[in-house]
């Protein structure tokens, strides 16, 4: 029995605005798609582009970054730093063949619980339409071509008999790991 595919979204929310807004969405009992997994950071400025790529590489179909509105950053300007990274990263991801809708930056203030809901639902829908990114499956598929050789070598070695291992080992210097 396989479950029907639904998108996986990894979200990085800043502690002060968007995480709080998501709390507010909860307190207000708003309902939204369960596809999102939130990771709390103190500021959107902490979002290392490596996190986004890592999430995608590990199977996220989309990454959502939530920060304070411009001018409202709890740490003055962290959100601008994220915005600048995001602009180039988005362009670069297109060069990697990744649809721009998969990575989204949203300014969501602590009061905008409703926006958390809207954005998550909207993104879930968009990703559902795009289909899976499926990087882990892609990596496996890409590496199929290595399997072929391994099998061929195995078959040949089996035919040729075992390799001589009884020969004198080469003089080995004493190995000291430092």
């Amino acid at each position: 029995m396989t479950k029907p595919w639904t998108p996986r979204i990894v979200a990085f929310f800043c502690n002060w605005c968007t995480y709080t807004a998501a709390d507010l969405a909860g307190v207000s009992r708003l309902k939204y798609a369960s596809n999102v997994r939130v990771i709390r950071l103190m500021c959107s400025g902490r979002v290392d582009p490596q996190f986004i790529l890592d999430a995608l590489a590990r199977g996220a179909d989309g990454v959502l970054i939530g920060g304070c509105h411009p001018g409202d950053c709890h740490y003055v300007e962290g959100n601008y730093k994220m915005l600048r990274r995001f602009e180039l990263l988005k362009r670069m991801l297109v060069d990697f063949g990744i649809e721009p809708q998969r990575v989204r930056l949203e300014w969501i203030s602590a009061a905008e619980g409703e926006k958390v809901k809207t954005v998550i639902n909207e993104m879930t829908q968009q990703l559902q339409a795009l289909g899976p990114l499926g990087m882990p499956q892609k990596f496996t598929a890409w590496d199929q071509e290595l399997e072929h050789l391994a099998q061929a070598v195995q078959a040949r070695d089996a035919a040729a008999g075992p390799c001589p291992t009884h020969a004198a080992p080469s003089p080995t210097p004493e190995v000291v790991h430092v």
Binding site: T20, L30, K31, S34, I39, R40, D54, Y75, S109
Partner: protein
């Protein structure tokens, strides 16, 4: 090879939160799933983890099962992280060996499919399990609290907060942008429901503030800059030039009658434009401080235009009869400039109040078109004995046959102007029903007119409020339920001639009525101050979608903001009446005192530090820090972080091109393991 690591023994607890979590998340299934993860020594589900027995359970398990990491899946860490860190510490572990999973606000409360919600909880829990393995023992830093407090805004909230603190022996700076403290309350005639005279209860407090040895009162001043953090704020205050040397002015006000303007001819803002004042004036008789102000816009001793520094140009063209009158006191100084003061405080209480809804935004009610349409605040001044008419209620338009000003014979009060309306403000302004009835009572007392209240719903929750409503009903004031459609001077019958006709659907009688009146009073609602956005940024607070300053928690932290050491009181947080405002001001003062009397704050140890060996000195991080916490050691050609200045945003960490900066509690390895964990589900 490195020494064998201590074996990981994680204790995992999933909280039912009564039914809050358990109704949507299968807590037992979550515990059973987490139990199988590497490093997990035990996994339990429990009804209320935050309760005492829940916390004791953690402590016992730490001892009995030799746990060295704790993960609790329950509500938001913003709510209970502190609680569980405490329990972890009480169990004998470093509190930062704890991590919290939010499966209530971010899961059970927002999802509708139990299976999906359970899967999500499992994934979030797994992320925490993987993350907590990377946690390190950290130390909480204690930062001393500067004992002085800044109170911003001198309305009743600011006055009460300042007095409370000052009476407790704390030094307070009270900064007010108007020339006098008192705020809106100073304009009121009486207060509901007790009908005590507002001035009688307020002005003694005002003068107490003015003379209190622990209060430095700066009126006619703006807070222009706030730097620092809880316990250690550096605040810049601009003291606007009032052209009077405050210390020399005795409040004799001899200058005012001696001004070259014989008659007051400039709009008097305190009286809502109903009266006039001179270029040299005192806003109202009981103003605190008792110091006059000179308005350079209209004073003849100044000319049009500005100096390069923005200050007005002294023309010296006036005879300066005011200076003569001031005589030896020499309190008038036309060359006075705005002055910047810098103060250090540990806490800030923001009480910047509200503005009233601009009645002109509802054109159908004719404010600004028909002269006899008034706002409620205008009526407050009109019925006030020290108001522009000395308390006589006279109409702006229309004279008696003898030429004397006319007194209204019938008055309609329209409730909810600008409030409870999607077109303007959605919220109920909370005070309008009560003050409308108060004004009805006062107007009736002053004029014996026929009084009509037009309301949508009567909202009188408060001690003695419903009783006041009953009293008004007994007094014979008419209450008509229905939102007024328009106010018009278009008479359809002879009785309506020369009157303002209020058209309203009487929803109790089920008829549309036309009620001719002499005077219309618009019960305007409350709105955030026009510059609330700037003030919010200045103090690093948040605003709700409606523009009111946001409290940290609507129930449990109503006077706290998201910035430690910055508190809220009064209507800047939302509409409220005087009793609630005063209560809140007291609460804010108490919150500040908690910090002051403890003497220190504990700072989240989420600061960043630079790996000294690994830093190449590329300087990429240095311009990124808004707090200039990152410095460059020219000698060693490496960057370093001044931990005292670091606030833990992690921006430099995210940007370090060789990953040579580490943020405590948010290390790369912790985040990467969390990413791995949240994606671990099938």
């Amino acid at each position: 090879m490195s020494a064998k690591k201590e074996e990981l023994r994680i204790g995992f607890y999933v909280c039912h939160c009564g039914h809050n979590i358990a109704s949507m998340v299968d807590c037992v299934a979550v515990a059973r799933s987490v139990e199988k993860l590497p490093g997990v020594a035990l996994a339990r589900d429990y009804k209320y983890m935050c309760s005492d027995p829940g916390q004791v359970l953690i402590q016992q398990d730490i001892r009995e099962h030799k746990l060295n990491r704790i993960v609790v899946a329950s509500c938001s860490p913003l709510l209970h992280e502190h609680t569980f860190r405490g329990a972890t510490e009480a169990g004998g572990l470093n509190p930062f060996y704890f991590h919290m999973v939010n499966i209530r606000e971010h899961d059970s409360w927002v999802h509708t499919d139990r299976q999906e919600a359970t899967e999500k909880a499992k994934a979030l829990a797994e992320a925490a399990i993987r993350r907590v393995a990377h946690h390190k023992a950290l130390e909480i830093k204690k930062v001393p609290i500067h004992p002085d407090v800044l109170v911003v805004g001198g309305g009743i909230a600011g006055i009460h907060a300042a007095m409370t603190l000052a009476n407790a022996g704390k030094k307070v700076y009270l900064v007010e942008r108007e020339p006098s403290i008192g705020g809106h309350m100073a304009k009121f005639d009486k207060t509901f429901p007790t009908l005590d005279c507002a001035a009688c209860i307020l002005t003694p407090k005002m003068s107490e503030v003015g003379s209190h040895p622990n209060i430095t009162l700066w009126t006619y001043s703006d807070v222009t800059k706030v730097d620092g953090y809880v316990g250690n704020y550096t605040v810049q205050v601009k003291r606007k030039a009032r052209y009077i040397i405050e210390d020399l002015c005795t409040g004799c006000q001899d200058c005012i009658p001696n001004c070259v303007f014989k008659e007051p001819k400039f709009t008097d803002d305190f009286n809502e434009g109903l009266g006039k004042r001179k270029p040299v004036y005192i806003p109202f008789p009981q103003a605190t401080p008792q110091v006059v102000v000179i308005d350079p816009e209209v004073c003849l001793n100044f000319k049009r235009g500005k100096n390069p520094d923005g200050s007005p140009i002294v023309s010296d063209k006036c005879k300066k009869t005011c200076v003569e009158a001031c005589g030896e006191k020499n309190a008038i100084d036309f060359t006075q400039k705005d002055e910047l003061k810098e103060i250090k405080v540990g806490n800030i209480i923001v009480c910047t109040g509200f503005k009233t809804f601009d009645a002109g935004r509802v054109p159908a009610y004719g404010y600004g078109t028909y002269k006899n349409v008034y706002t409620s605040l205008e009526i407050e001044r009109l019925v006030n004995a020290s108001g522009p008419t000395g308390g006589e209620v006279i109409l702006r338009e229309g004279k008696n046959p003898d030429g004397s000003p006319k007194t209204p014979k019938s008055i309609g009060i329209i409730h909810c102007v600008g409030s409870r309306d999607k077109k303007t403000n959605i919220w109920c302004s909370r005070v309008c029903c009560m003050y409308s009835m108060k004004l009805a009572h006062l107007l009736k007392e002053h004029t014996d007119a026929e009084l009509y209240n037009f309301y949508i719903d009567m909202r009188t929750p408060g001690k003695g409020y419903e009783e006041f409503y009953n009293k008004l009903l007994e007094e014979g004031t008419h209450f008509i339920r229905g939102r007024v459609g328009e106010v018009t001077d278009w008479a359809m019958t002879p009785e309506e001639e020369g009157k303002l006709v209020i058209r309203v659907e009487d929803t109790l009688a089920g008829v549309v009525r036309r009620i001719p009146v002499d005077m219309v009073v618009l019960a305007t609602g409350l709105e955030p101050q026009a510059d609330a956005g700037d003030v919010r940024r200045l103090f690093n607070m948040s605003c709700g979608g409606d523009g009111w300053f946001l409290e940290r928690h609507p129930k449990l932290a109503p006077v706290n903001t998201f910035t430690d050491g910055v508190f809220l009181a009064g209507c800047c947080q939302g509409p409220k009446d005087i009793p609630d405002t005063v209560a809140q001001a007291g609460a804010a003062a108490a919150e500040a005192m908690v910090l002051i009397d403890r003497g220190y704050v504990e700072q989240e140890p989420n600061t960043a530090f630079i790996l000294d060996q690994e830093c190449s000195g590329c300087k990429s991080c240095i311009p990124l820090c808004p707090y200039t916490a990152i410095l460059f050691d020219e000698e060693r050609k490496k960057a370093y972080i001044n931990e005292a200045l670091c606030k833990g945003c992690g921006t430099c960490v995210g940007a370090c091109p060789s990953s040579s900066i580490v943020q405590n509690l948010f290390e790369d390895s912790e985040i990467f393991s969390e990413i791995e964990g949240v994606l671990s589900y099938d």
